[in-house]
């Protein structure tokens, strides 16, 4: 048994630049037939090794073969006054452009390392109420936040089956007492741990019980960010500390 480890390329341009560098090829005069062959061999290797061959590699392969074919066309000596453009020109320009941004990203990487020590203040609020607000709020709102939230909302509700749940009010009282004693004993717990192993109607009961306790200010719940674990504190625990 052996395993071939293929170098990881960002895409076909990256791969071509690798060949050019490795073989010290003059980028302005790429031996297209040789490069095409190398390129196709690489794709073959990817396939053998079950590496995803993305459409960009296929497109590049066909472009290379097209250029190769154009290079083969007999050059008509008589029409030399209307200079035929080198079929490689566009590709070379694209490669150079890509080289430039690879270089820039290298220098950006160095800049990050240079400023490795820069950590800004992490939190800008000063009391519990504001902090719990902050955790549900956004530092600087962007349209990205807006549309992503919208996307989540409409997708969330698509998946929700509306079920009628009959809740015995007694159960909520019981659940409140139960949660209260757990939280008071532990000081703080994860909301999810309250739900573990419970069936849907009971989850709803537990949820309502938690809401009720929050309303009564017996417990305090906060969340680091939307979708993350909700942590429940006993208010007496917070006051003690």
């Amino acid at each position: 048994m052996y395993k071939i480890v293929l170098p990881n390329f960002e895409g076909p341009l990256d791969l071509l630049l690798y060949f050019i560098k490795r073989d010290e090829i003059n980028i302005y005069d790429i031996p297209i037939a040789r490069i095409t062959e190398e390129f196709l061999n690489y794709i073959k290797l990817m396939q053998i090794n079950d590496i995803e061959v993305t459409s960009e590699f296929i497109l590049m392969a066909s472009l290379l073969m097209q250029i190769k074919a154009q290079m083969l066309l007999p050059k008509n000596q008589n029409t030399s006054e209307t200079q035929i453009e080198d079929p490689r020109k566009a590709l070379v320009e694209q490669l150079i452009e890509y080289q430039i941004f690879k270089e820039i990203s290298e220098s950006l990487k160095n800049k990050i390392e240079l400023h490795n020590h820069l950590f800004y203040r992490g939190i800008y609020e000063s009391n519990i109420k504001e902090i719990s607000d902050k955790y549900k709020s956004f530092k600087q709102l962007t349209t990205w936040d807006l549309i992503k939230t919208y996307y989540e909302v409409i997708n969330r509700n698509k998946n929700i089956e509306i079920q009628e749940v009959k809740i015995n009010p007694l159960k909520i009282e019981e659940e409140i007492e139960k949660i209260k004693s757990i939280v008071n004993k532990e000081g703080q717990i994860n909301f999810n741990s309250l739900l573990a192993g419970k069936e849907k109607p009971l989850i709803v009961v537990a949820f309502i019980a938690v809401l009720e306790l929050v309303k009564q200010k017996q417990i305090f719940a906060f969340q680091n960010e939307y979708g993350s674990e909700i942590i429940i504190f006993s208010t007496s625990f917070i006051n003690q500390n």
């Binding site: 037939a33 190769k68 807006l146 919208y150 996307y151 909302v153 500390n241």
Partner: protein, 235 residues
Amino acid sequence: MFEKFKQLNHFTQLRIIEALIFASEEPISVESIKNLLTSLNIFEYDFQTFNSTEAEPEIDLSDEPNKYITKLIELVNNDYDKNDRPFRIVEVAGGYTFATNEKYGRIVSLLPIFKNKKKLTKPQLETLSIIAYNQPITKPEIEKIRGVNSGEIVNSLLEKNLISIVGRRDSLGRPLLYGTTKEFLKLFGLNSLDDLPKLNEIRNIIDERNKPNLIEIKIDFDDTKNQELDSQIDS
């Protein structure tokens, strides 16, 4: 090893704790500080100790880690108070964080930019996004999408002047219609509603992750053919 941290110059210990609390993005608990300091291989780091003219603060090395850390934080705060710094380390939500102190915090809060922070909670942002993408829209329609009662949130958005009443739906009960305001555009740096990203645009970005990217191809690797070509081109 936490014991190793204790062996550092006392001033250095104080500064490291100070820096940790300063940079942390959430209130950091004593427990977390302890764990971080225990994992920190500070001795790999070429460390120049600070030579203070002041005497090293007295720290009781026999304290167990949590108490020890709490004491260090106290010492940092004493230092801030002594120097009339406008901030100190406070304990909130089960952890420590920096905040402006009362004296200077009050001055800061007098300033308009610190007063009218347009911060939105998740439910507010949700509701705002629904209104933005479906305007004009009524409250029951919003609630149908969100699946929860949204009256209070709609009111809070009205208060923040991010939405306004733009008319009434010509249907039973003639419910109020809501739409976004100029203030809304300003908040998101948009010139017009037209500049809002469209749902299918973001769907493309999000769904790309799940898109099958694999294309099956068969390429003929008849080497002799390629060699022929090579020789033709190279000649």
